[in-house]
């Protein structure tokens, strides 16, 4: 049994930022990070970006901390190990290799994993996912020989992969269950706007389509769809969603929904146990609701806050998170909570006959989220509007009027 003051499960952005922050506040307390990946902290964002994927920048750019950073900061990093049980009374975490750690303070920053494609034949060579560095190494290998590629699911993964695969010279078919790209997160007009850039780049989109079976020998040769059509492809990138793996925590008494439940201080219901990043389902004091948001910057900021709180500087996590991406000449950003839940309404703001579209998600009298197509320069202004809790109930016309400057909402708030 190893005793450690701060034990962090997860070596991604949330876990690493927490360790970094703790070390700044507590120069001596022992810190151990357990990661189930074989690699130190790297950029998951970079995995699906052209500069890295196409080899235009050195592979080493992927590392976000030098190897020496860990010993220099007296942070012990254990790679390739999975936590298998948590005993909150004895304060012990056991690992899959039989080792166990007794902690004073524990952070659960285990992230999320891809949902595996539940289709017959999805275990064939050539079926891949995009989440980890190993996933991308596999995709980069397949790209060398494949001529035709398919991407499954309408979201960031498909959007970014379709771009990369076209840049790599593949024929690309994008297969979605929905009527348009990114339904129901986007409205049809915004979805079609994204589709247009995909189609202009030569991507074929099949709508309302679901795979019935993957055909081929050891390797995929084609995808048989429910309606009998066949899509030929030597590689398939599946982006049908992620989930947090919390099964190992069953029986620990930890409260879990889709994620690990936490309050605004990122504290779980168990003493001295915090959660941060993709895995945390926490009370967001700005949105006024319990949410599970998965994106890089959100995890980064949450990891920092959890680190401060674990080191004794307790404050609520208050941050309007966002994720932005670009490709094929379009840019897309999602801010705050964009889930199209019942009771929410949407205010649309259209520029240049719909070449750029902002959609504000309204809950009660305020904005809780927004989707931006080709208008990411307004990202921070809108994040501030959400953070400032601006009452928009009788100002919906201003929101949709492109002649009204959005920053006006925030400056008025400061004066108020």
């Amino acid at each position: 049994m190893t005793e450690v003051k701060y034990l962090i499960i997860g070596g991604g952005v949330a876990g690493t930022m927490a360790a970094d922050t703790i070390r700044k506040k507590d120069s001596e307390g022992s810190i151990t990070i357990i990661s189930d990946e074989p690699y130190r902290f790297y950029s998951k964002i970079m995995l699906s970006k052209p500069a890295f994927f196409l080899g235009k920048i050195p592979f080493e750019t992927i590392w976000l901390r030098k190897e020496e950073w860990y010993p220099e900061n007296k942070i012990s990093l254990l790679l390739g190990k999975k936590a298998v049980s948590l005993d909150p009374v004895g304060k012990i975490v056991a690992l899959d290799d039989g080792a166990s750690f007794k902690y004073e303070k524990l952070l659960l920053a285990t992230g999320s994993s891809v949902i595996k494609w539940p289709v017959v034949g999805a275990d064939k060579n050539g079926i891949c996912y995009l989440r980890t560095l190993d996933d991308v190494k596999k995709i980069m290998q397949l790209v060398k020989t494949a001529k035709r590629a398919a991407t499954i699911g309408g979201g960031f993964i498909s959007f970014e992969m379709a771009d990369l695969l076209r840049l790599s010279g593949k024929d690309v078919t994008l297969i979605i269950r929905e009527n348009y790209f990114w339904e129901p997160i986007l409205d049809e007009e915004s979805g079609r706007l994204v589709e247009k850039v995909l189609k202009d780049a030569g991507v074929e989109i099949l709508y309302k389509s679901e795979a019935k079976e993957i055909l081929g020998g050891d390797s995929v040769e084609s995808i048989l769809l429910n309606d009998g059509r066949k899509v030929e492809a030597e590689m398939v990138v599946c982006g049908i969603g992620v989930r947090s793996e919390n099964e190992w925590l069953a029986g620990s008494g930890l409260k879990i929904n889709k994620g690990i439940l936490a309050n605004e201080y990122l504290e779980t219901n168990l003493p001295d146990v915090w959660a941060a990043g993709d895995v945390a389902e926490y009370y967001d004091p700005i949105l006024g609701e319990t949410v599970k948001l998965g994106n890089w910057i959100h995890s980064q900021e949450q990891g920092k806050r959890a680190g401060f709180n674990m080191a004794g500087e307790k404050e609520p996590f208050k941050f309007v998170s966002f994720y932005a991406s670009q490709g094929l000449g379009a840019n897309i950003a999602f801010i705050g909570n964009i889930a199209p839940l019942p009771g929410r309404s949407v205010i649309t703001r259209k520029y240049d006959n719909g070449k750029a579209i902002i959609r504000f998600i309204q809950s009660g009298n305020k904005i809780v989220g927004a989707t931006l197509i080709n208008k990411t320069e307004d990202l921070k202004t809108i994040a501030n509007m959400i953070e400032n809790n601006i009452d928009v109930s009788d100002r919906l016309e201003e929101l949709s009027d492109v002649n009204f400057n959005l920053s006006g909402f925030n400056s008025e708030n400061i004066n108020a």
Binding site: K49, A324, T376, L379
Partner: protein, 86 residues
């Protein structure tokens, strides 16, 4: 190396004399804006640019913003022109 925006800092207590955004590397993940909204914003091409209020941001925050960039598109230089990040 052409597609870069340079910003000369003029803050006496700062060890960071120059900030550079490599626009080819920037992928508008916008993490810098989350960390240092007084220093960075996105332009109409969705690339990070330096704001004229960047001098108000202290060195530690700037370093955190640069470190937060998932593509290492923010480069920091000291008074002798030596690159200090990444």
């Amino acid at each position: 190396m052409a597609n870069q925006q340079e910003y000369q800092r003029s803050r006496p207590d700062s060890k960071i004399a120059k900030i550079v955004v490599d626009r080819d590397l920037c992928i508008s993940a916008a993490s810098c804006i989350g960390v240092a909204p007084e220093a960075f914003e996105l332009d109409a091409e969705s690339k990070a640019i330096l704001k004229n209020t960047a001098d108000s941001v202290d060195d530690e925050t700037l370093m955190m913003a640069a470190q937060s960039c998932p593509t290492k598109a923010i480069l920091l230089f000291d008074n002798d022109g030596k690159q200090i990040y990444p």
